[in-house]
Amino acid sequence: MPKLKVSLLTGRTINQGKGKEQGKLSEEYQNSVSICQMDPEDIKLLKVRENANVKVTTDFGSVIVKAVKSKRAPHSGVVFIPYGPWASVLANPKTHGTGMPSLKGEIAEIEPAITEKVLSLQELLRTCFRR
């Protein structure tokens, strides 16, 4: 199966901002942060269609998210996941003595995961925290 090595960025989007104010349990919020914005050329390299599920893995965890075409392309080799519980699974906690974890520019691997599903917020929390 094709795999891509990418630089993972996390950040804000207007939909994430709107979604969090509508409520973290709202469908709008969950749909806005369980996605991975990719360069259309990178989606082609993975041999998946837009909106297919992909698995993103870093040294700190892996998570299934939906691959969406980035409207900010071209940025091949760079993927973007909005701040939220899905991005946090992948985040590097090392602060290098500053207190600030490394949330942008982490090396990640991305591969198709068509048969796996994107977990709901409750399912993700149960998986991560066993509560």
Partner: protein
């Protein structure tokens, strides 16, 4: 229907104070002037909320009385040896003040969300200093606006409109019309590109994002905007010029600009893929401006180099001030994250990551900052106020937070409140209770009350006062 005007918006650091709210039967029915985020908050704040306190019993959160929840929260905090008190940037300065008293009483570590936001900026400002101002000055006077590693279109949607490029200032006109004609140009170019592809029956590559030749608008004597980022964000589309930097290469680019500002020569052709000639032209525009401002965001604080990136940005502005007038400001995220730094500093001398375990305040980010404490597994309980670290901390740190007794005071249901052992829902500050908050430029503004809170929900300040009273009673009895 009563209309409440000049309401401040309790969402982002822009803290807009011109919102108009229409209330019918104590319910908000209409919001005017707010951005998408502000409107979403005012209209939906009550749709996913818990109004009764909860305590985890046999693995399940069950409703209890406020008295029982306060008692349990106080017991957890009073018996802990090294508790964390975290959050604070989404509540009022009045509540934060009580939180600091509580942290001192229990000998814990009190930290706020700037630790995972602009903490590195604060470290740098303490080292280098900052040339800053209020947003009002920029609205009226700034003719060159930089957004570096910041996407205000998404994170501070009215910032450009109210304070910078599109604002109509006394001495600087809005650049709105110029943007409209540029947008028409961009759309025509895209249409032409599509038509060429259709005509040729093949895909020709899109033009590169960073144009090597600077647009003529940058040379005109009027307000202009430059965005530096790793992706062409929505804000970059609005800008007169977009400079695309490679991920984790901001430090290199900032230092190169510093060298050019100081008339030093660069013995390379390109810096992070950008030709030196382009950088020279940009520096010329920077030096030639009347009043420049560099807004920077988490693109600098969170990427490789962290506070060293901010060191370089602050130093660049210091260097520019030898040639012209230039200012710099961090784009603060939450509506009162600036206030939390201010109140922490009044009370303890330090803006975040304050450790009271020795009986007096200590500050050493990297050691006393909450993510580091969690990763080292040192804390034995936590109180989270108006924040959601379970959703936003790296998972490794969030797991440590959840492993130990966790008390949450928050009006919203969040991943953190779902994972908590004690949940005390509070009233929404800025909607249901009054208070004070600081805009990103350190201007304090009042938070208004526009509707009544549910009878079971007290303000964050009142809940914290009750917990503090109970902690003091427990400690007196213990001694």
């Amino acid at each position: 229907m009563p209309v409440v005007s000049n309401v401040t918006c309790p969402v982002c650091g822009s803290f807009c104070d011109d919102i108009e709210i229409t209330v019918k039967n104590d319910v908000i029915v209409k919001v005017k002037n707010a951005c998408a985020m502000g409107e979403a908050k005012f209209l939906n704040y009550a749709s996913h909320r818990q109004t009764k306190p909860l305590i985890r019993k046999n693995g399940e959160l069950v409703e209890v009385s406020l008295k029982e929840a306060v008692q349990k929260a106080a017991e957890i905090l009073a018996s802990a040896k090294y508790p964390i008190l975290y959050g604070w940037s989404n509540t009022s300065c009045e509540a934060i003040r009580v939180g600091l008293e509580l942290a001192e009483e229990v000998g814990g570590v009190i930290d706020n969300t700037s630790t995972v936001c602009h903490g590195p900026s604060i470290l740098s400002i303490q080292d280098i200093g900052i040339s800053s101002c209020t947003l009002g000055q920029l609205r009226h006077r700034a003719d060159l606006i930089f957004y570096w590693g910041s996407n205000p279109w998404s994170a501070h949607p009215r910032h450009i409109d109210r304070y910078t490029t599109f604002a109509e200032g006394r001495f600087q006109k809005s650049a709105w019309r110029g943007y409209l004609s540029r947008l028409t140009g961009i759309l025509s170019k895209k249409r032409l590109h599509r038509a060429v592809n259709l005509g040729l029956g093949r895909q020709t590559p899109s033009p590169p994002e960073t144009e090597l030749r600077l647009p003529s608008t940058l040379l005109q004597n009027k307000r202009k905007m430059i965005v530096v980022d790793v992706r062409k964000t929505r804000s970059a589309e609005i800008a007169d010029y977009f400079l695309q930097v490679k991920p984790n290469k901001d430090y290199e680019l900032l230092q190169a600009l510093r060298m050019l500002v100081r008339d030093e020569e660069l013995d390379v052709d390109k810096v992070t893929g950008i030709p030196v000639e382009t950088l020279e032209e940009i520096v010329e525009i920077m030096i030639g401006c009347e009043l420049g401002i560099l807004f920077f965001g988490l693109g600098l604080t969170m990427s490789q180099g962290k506070h060293r990136n901010i060191d370089a940005a602050l130093s660049l502005v210091r260097d520019l001030n030898r040639r012209t007038k230039f200012l710099i400001m961090p784009m603060r995220g939450h509506f009162n994250v600036t206030g939390v730094n201010v109140v922490f500093t009044w009370q303890t001398g330090y803006p975040y990551a304050v450790d009271f375990s020795h009986g007096y305040p200590r500050y050493n980010p990297g050691e006393t900052s909450v993510v580091d404490i969690l990763c080292r597994g040192e804390s034995d309980a936590a109180l989270v106020v108006a924040s959601d670290p379970v959703a936003h901390f790296p998972n490794v740190a969030a797991q440590k937070l959840v492993e130990k007794p966790l008390v949450v005071i928050d009006p919203q249901v969040t991943p953190t409140s779902i994972m908590a052992d004690v949940v005390i829902p509070s009233a929404f500050v800025g909607i249901e209770v009054e208070g004070t908050a600081y805009r990103m430029d350190h201007v304090p503004l009042p938070l208004k009350k526009v509707v009544e809170p549910p009878t079971t929900c007290l303000s964050d300040k009142e809940v914290l006062q009750k917990i503090l009273g109970e902690v003091r009673r427990l400690r007196r009895n213990h001694n």
